[in-house]
């Protein structure tokens, strides 16, 4: 594979993506909601951390927290304990939605969108190999997804620390759990979004259809969210590393299928 050709496709796709508001809007809106609105709501809205629902959440999550966290939180009032649990544990899975959704939206535009806009034939006629085309398009989905994830994580960290430093007297983030999630599980989740979208795009004709189907990928993330809320699964560094390995195994399987489905003949027959 000639990397210069893969990067050529990557740069071309990226130039297209940044000029497409249908793609850029979810890339901007979703991170803003997660990184700014959620921490602001949790820390600034009076009494949002009180009430029977939160008490239930405390009862289910608190006993399953790592011992060090339980000891550290023991000296704080319950509302403050709740803020810590929400910001450090409960909302963590939302940061897997960003790489999944952003990579899914861009991959939908890159693979299904090219068919829909009938630009694929000239691209396939160019002297580029299947692997160069695929790698370029995968990079064009992966790089912005990880960029958005890292920027969102940085913003979230700054927001959370700025809003909570006065209450706690120390910085809540970053910690090892979050670093493992952002640097290991998020890239694996992004590849999951791309691999699934490559397969979906080989079966559908249009960008929107591919995007809608790839949005179903957030379902496993919601399962993680409910797993934490029920106290069944607390996302510590070890759990996240195990999840990363599992997701990477699924990624490998999805890419295996995706590459076998990247058939020029089928793509051309679907673009007319």
């Amino acid at each position: 594979m000639r990397w210069s050709k893969a990067f050529l496709v990557f740069r071309k796709d990226l130039s297209e993506v940044v000029r497409n508001w249908e793609v850029m809007a979810p890339m901007i809106i979703l991170p803003v909601i997660i990184t700014v609105l959620i921490p602001a709501m949790v820390t600034l809205v009076p009494d949002s951390m009180n009430g029977s629902n939160n008490a239930n959440l405390m009862d289910t999550i608190f006993p399953n927290l790592p011992e060090a966290d339980r000891n550290m939180l023991a000296g704080f009032p319950e509302a403050q304990q709740m803020i810590y649990i929400m910001l450090v544990y409960f909302f963590a899975p939302f940061f897997l939605i960003i790489p999944l959704m952003v990579s899914g939206v861009i991959a939908s535009d890159s693979f299904a969108g090219e068919k829909e806009r009938k630009t694929i034939e000239a691209l396939l006629a160019a002297p580029l190999t299947d692997s160069e085309l695929l790698m370029g398009k995968i990079l064009a989905s992966f790089a912005p997804a990880m960029g958005a994830t890292l920027i969102s994580f940085t913003l979230y960290t700054v927001m959370v620390d700025a809003l909570t430093l006065g209450r706690f007297g120390f910085l809540l983030l970053p910690n090892l759990t979050w670093l493992v999630m952002i640097l290991c599980l998020a890239p694996a989740a992004s590849l999951l979004g791309i691999g699934a979208t490559v397969i979906i795009s080989s079966r559908v004709k249009g960008f929107r259809e591919a995007q809608q189907l790839s949005a179903l990928l957030v379902v496993p993330v919601l399962a993680l969210l409910f797993g934490q809320a029920s106290g069944f699964l607390i996302m510590g560094p070890a759990t996240l590393l195990v999840l990363t390995v599992l997701v990477l195994v699924v990624d490998a399987a999805l890419f295996g299928v995706g590459v076998s489905l990247f058939n020029r003949e089928k793509i051309l027959s679907q673009s007319h």
Partner: protein
């Protein structure tokens, strides 16, 4: 020297035969036309010759490279104007050409920039080079797509309906360009078109295909002659009289004669009988004002070939 050699090229889709055992050769510098009704297999043939899709049976060699085994090399040496302009509408004209120039290996920035400028100026798009392709008219998009096909100076060009959607002036410019590329620069052009006047004017030979198979391969002139099966001349006389038409009818090689519009329409078995025909009329006292060979149009010939298949 042969630029394209097709040997039993066949393509089947789920049991449907789109192209059936096509065999033909195209010489270097030749403009070779592909004619046929919609669904005849023209685009599938071009796609196989561009190594975009694999033949089910047979093979073709472009510049000596097999479309089956050397797909990348084939794609490197051809330029293709696809059925749709296939432009990136969010990118500017310049960005579209830069991407494809790099994809086709035009690595040196100075050469690339000069080539792109030359093409955009030729197609009157230089002033709009920074505008998104999506803002262009259909004709401008067609020109930009043609510029993209030419950006790496390919030895062989596949053009699918190149003058489609163009105004008469632009269409003429494209036809002139094709002639220049073929005659002066020795580029081989495979032209798929519905515009028979384009085929007639430009093509050295045309292949009429229908139901995936070759119905006829010949020069446009040969096709017209085959369609009439004879040579027809219009003989203008100062005055048409019965003795003169009888003399003409009695001349050697005359198959049929018709008198209308103050002229004789004489069908000869061979054009070589024309001087004898004129002599017979003059000997009978006629004053010949003009002799014009009449041929059926390529369109008539095409319709006859397709209809009679």
């Amino acid at each position: 020297m042969e630029s394209i050699v097709a040997e039993g090229l066949t393509k089947r889709f789920n049991g449907f035969t789109a192209v059936d055992s096509l065999s033909f050769t195209v010489e270097q510098g030749e403009i070779f036309g592909l004619l046929g009704p919609n669904g005849a297999g023209k685009t599938t043939t071009i796609r196989m010759l561009a190594s975009l899709i694999q033949p089910t049976e047979g093979d073709a060699y472009v510049g000596g490279f097999s479309v089956r085994d050397d797909a990348l090399r084939v794609r490197e040496i051809i330029g293709i104007l696809t059925e749709n302009p296939s432009l990136y509408e969010r990118l500017s004209a310049l960005e579209n050409l830069e991407f494809f120039a790099k994809a086709y290996g035009v690595g040196d920035p100075q050469t690339r920039d000069a080539r792109i400028k030359e093409l955009l100026q030729f197609f009157d798009l230089w002033d709009r080079r920074g505008d998104r392709a999506g803002t262009f008219s259909k004709g401008m998009k067609q020109k930009l797509a043609l510029a993209r096909a030419l950006v790496h100076e390919p030895r062989t060009l596949y053009l699918d309906e190149p003058t489609s959607g163009l105004d008469p002036k632009s269409a003429k410019d494209i036809r002139d360009l094709m002639e220049r590329l073929s005659q002066r620069e020795g580029q081989t052009i495979l032209l798929s078109t519905h515009r028979l006047e384009d085929a007639e004017r430009l093509c050295d030979r045309v292949m009429i295909i229908n139901h995936g198979g070759a119905v006829s391969v010949a020069s446009p002139r040969e096709l017209r002659q085959r369609a009439t099966g004879a040579h027809v001349v219009r003989v203008g006389l100062r005055e048409v009289t019965r003795p003169l038409s009888d003399a003409a009818e009695a001349a050697e090689g005359v198959k049929a004669l018709d008198v209308r519009d103050g002229a004789l329409f004489v069908t000869l078995t061979d054009e070589g009988y024309t001087p004898g025909l004129v002599r017979s009329i003059v000997d009978a006292g006629g004053s010949v004002m003009y002799v014009v060979p009449l041929e059926v149009s390529l369109e008539d010939a095409y319709l006859k070939v397709i209809g009679g298949e």
